[in-house]
Amino acid sequence: MAGWKAWIRRFKRLHRELLSINRRNIEYVYPCNPRQFYALADDKVLTKHWLKELDIPVADTYMIVESFADIGRAIQKLKTLDNAVIKPARGRGGGGIMLVVNKNDTLQTPSGKPLSEQLIRQHLADIIFGNYSFGLSDRAIIEEFIVPHPVFREIFPEGVPDIRVIVYYGTPVLAMVRIPTVRSGGRANLHQGAMGVGLDLQTGRMLHGLWNGNYVSHHPDTGKQIEGIQLPYWNEVLKISRNIGSNSPLKYLGIDIVLSHNKPIVMEINVRPGLEIQNINKKGLRALLEAIKPVCKS
């Protein structure tokens, strides 16, 4: 038990270094991210289009399903592919994502459960109706199914882990990896029980994980070590992050990147990146952001 003086020191330090929700919104999100450019991050069709222009790798788009008239063609398209992901353009928190694998001309889930044509039609209709985007009508994207790099398969065989880099005025500030667990049901979502792993921003080496309120050095389900594991293509990841950050009208961003077997691929851009990354890295964002540039002026 630390003495009260130590606690006061920590308390003061927390005040200097922690980026609180109020401060993130008032000093970073509102002034740095003009609202008219939100669509660039919120609509994945636009995001991908824009990133392609910057020559940043994104998942190959097979088809964009704009209306019900396209659903029939979408089914035909799926039958010609080995595998694909269906996702809503404006979905949030990983909702509405469907993985489709084509095995001997029958469509199924990666775990082998058959997917009837009717079910896929229904899912596409749900997306277009806006069931995954708060009642707004939406578009469905059918894109490349990315198989994560073997380094992740080793740690936990299911799901697709992703890297989150916080970028401020083109400078990467803090990064983490989200690794699925049994509890998260294979999803890389911290709310649902995925493990957050802090990263050494310079080297791309994994530090420690935060899972279920405890710092851990191994994956909770497989027991595989994570501490000290080197992420591949780390320089690419940093380069991509800087590239997006410096070319974007949005200046405070969370960039989600997936590592495939041969390159990093940008999946998503977030204009209101979460704050849990501070707990995971044991570092406060406020001090780091202020070292880069004093607060944006609105």
């Binding site: 920590r10 927390l14 270094e17 709310h191 044991k282």
Partner: protein, 522 residues
């Protein structure tokens, strides 16, 4: 200093100046704004063996110079009620076939009372009353035996040898007041009280009336209730003597001479029971008394003469039949909203919806907080269960919401039906709940359960319920309501708070917990 803070400062200064003007120049007075104490009296009348119909009668509180009935409501169980003003008081009679032979009728009166003291002259001659109606108050009755030898000899031994009415009244009052109080059940007549030299309130009062009448001073019994918080079954009787054209109260039981305390509720005059009922049926009564705060009654009168208050706006609303109570609660909604913002942005609590807690609190004003909370929780839980089949069958968003809204309305209708079945009239007010808001909340709750788990959803529910309770208590503060009605410029202070809150970059209280790992490891 940035612009929002500057605006906040200007608004607050402006408000302060206006309030200062009101109190210093326009003669606003603090005492007109502060709420008054009042009473809620519930009279429960239980009956049984009413197979051949029931007939119950009692006296209802009526307005007079010292008591004001703010509101009175009835629970009649479908039995026809007949209310008639009489010379003895306002009589209510329930008569008819009840839906079941056992049951309960009740009335609830909201009362404001005032203490009153009569200043008597030193000397008033006893004269034969000229008004023929007063003759009744000199007469002998079977229980007030004015001419009984025991009364006559007692009277003659006590009565002062003077024609001064005041001396007679004082002498008899003091004599009867000196008796030991005994909790006798039933009726004690004047003679019994005189012989025993001890009695309960009705015996002592009858003896005092008999002695006064013997001296040719018109006197009568008065019946009512002494209001003290809690449940009780005791009513009270005291005496009034007619002195120089005024009925002056005398209570020999509790020793009040020419004085009636604030908590005395007068119901009727004359020697009669408070309740009467048909022979053969069972009957039992009980009083439930609560202290409550009520808006100051001088508030409306005085304020309308002064500039800048919401009372004038209310006059316009009133013409369209909007009651003040509704206006008040609507006016308090922004206060509730600011309190919620503080809970969310400063404490860091999560609630279902931003304004939902304020709306539920406002709706709970009519139902009572307990029923409001239970109603709210039950409805959203039941309706959120409906979300799962709808989600499973891929019912798209808009139709799904309309189906859930049907469920919300059905739940509210059911609550009305239940209220009638179990005789809990409060629940019927649940129908006033904002239906759309409940629907959206139910959907949010279901989504939270699906995305973040049941534990998280329960936690947010607990926080929402807590915020509803606090917001309810603040929105129903009578003094705060009066301040906003009298000084609507206080809204500018709310705007200022909003502006400061909206620019506040501090750490939310809950974030200290959330980032405890970070704090330990920095």
């Amino acid at each position: 200093m940035n612009i929002p803070h500057l605006v906040a400062l200007v608004l607050t200064t402006f408000t302060s100046v206006l309030i200062a003007l009101k109190f210093l120049v326009w003669d606003y007075r603090f005492e007109y704004l502060l709420p008054e104490r009042g009473y809620s009296l519930i009279v429960n009348m239980h009956f049984w063996e009413g197979e051949e119909g029931v007939r119950i009668s009692t006296w209802l509180p009526a307005n007079d110079a010292r008591q004001l009935v703010d509101n009175i409501s009835f629970e009649n169980m479908g039995i026809p009620i007949h209310v008639e003003p009489t010379e003895y008081g306002t009589r209510a009679i329930w008569e008819g076939m009840p839906p079941s032979s056992t049951g309960k009728i009740a009335y609830n009166a909201v009362l404001r009372l005032k203490a009153v003291r009569y200043v008597l002259p030193d000397s008033v001659p006893i004269t034969e009353p000229r008004m023929p109606t007063l003759k009744e108050f000199l007469r002998e009755t079977p229980t007030i035996q004015v001419n009984h030898p025991a009364i006559v000899s007692l009277h003659d031994s006590l009565a002062p040898r003077t024609n001064n009415l005041i001396a007679h009244v004082k002498r008899f009052y003091e004599y009867v007041a000196s008796f030991e109080n005994r909790p006798f059940k039933g009726t004690t007549d004047a003679v019994t009280a005189a012989l025993l030299e001890e009695a309960s309130c009705n015996g002592k009062s009858r003896l005092l009336v008999a002695l006064l009448r013997r001296s040719k001073i018109p006197a009568r019994l008065v019946g009512g209730i002494v209001l003290t918080a809690g449940r009780k079954r005791t009513a009270h009787q005291w005496v009034e003597a007619f002195i120089q054209g005024v009925w002056v109260p005398l209570d020999p039981t509790n020793h009040h001479f020419a004085y009636l305390p604030e908590n005395y509720l007068k119901l009727y005059v004359g020697d009669q029971p408070l309740f009467s009922f048909k022979k053969g049926m069972g009957f039992r009564y009980e009083f439930e008394i609560q202290y409550i705060t009520l808006p100051n009654r001088f508030f409306a009168q005085h304020l309308t003469e002064h500039p800048f208050n919401a009372y004038k706006a209310w006059k316009a609303f009133q013409e369209n039949g909007i009651p003040l109570s509704l206006l008040t609660i609507v006016l308090m909604l922004p206060v509730g909203a600011i309190v919620i913002s503080i809970f969310r942005n400063v404490v860091g609590m999560q609630t279902f919806g931003t304004f939902l807690p304020a709306l539920i609190a406002a709706a709970s004003v009519t139902t009572g907080l307990t029923y409001g909370l239970i109603g709210f929780l039950t409805v959203i839980t039941l309706v959120s269960i409906l979300y799962y089949p709808l989600e499973k069958w891929h019912i798209t968003h808009n139709p799904r919401m309309s189906i859930m809204m049907v469920a919300v309305v059905s739940a509210l209708l059911t609550s009305g039906w239940l209220a009638q079945q179990f005789d809990i009239s409060n629940i019927t007010y649940l129908a006033l709940f904002p239906v759309a808001v409940l629907t959206i909340t139910a959907e949010r709750m279901a989504q939270t359960i699906m995305e973040d788990g049941l534990k998280k959803a329960l936690w947010v529910t607990v926080q929402t319920a807590f915020v509803i309770i606090v917001v309810y208590e603040i929105m129903t503060l009578t003094s705060l309501q009066s301040f906003f009605l009298a000084m609507p410029e206080l809204y500018l202070v709310l705007v200022s708070i909003g502006l400061v809150l909206g620019r506040w970059t501090g750490i939310r209280l809950f974030e200290y917990w959330r980032f405890r790992h970070l704090m330990k490891n920095l």
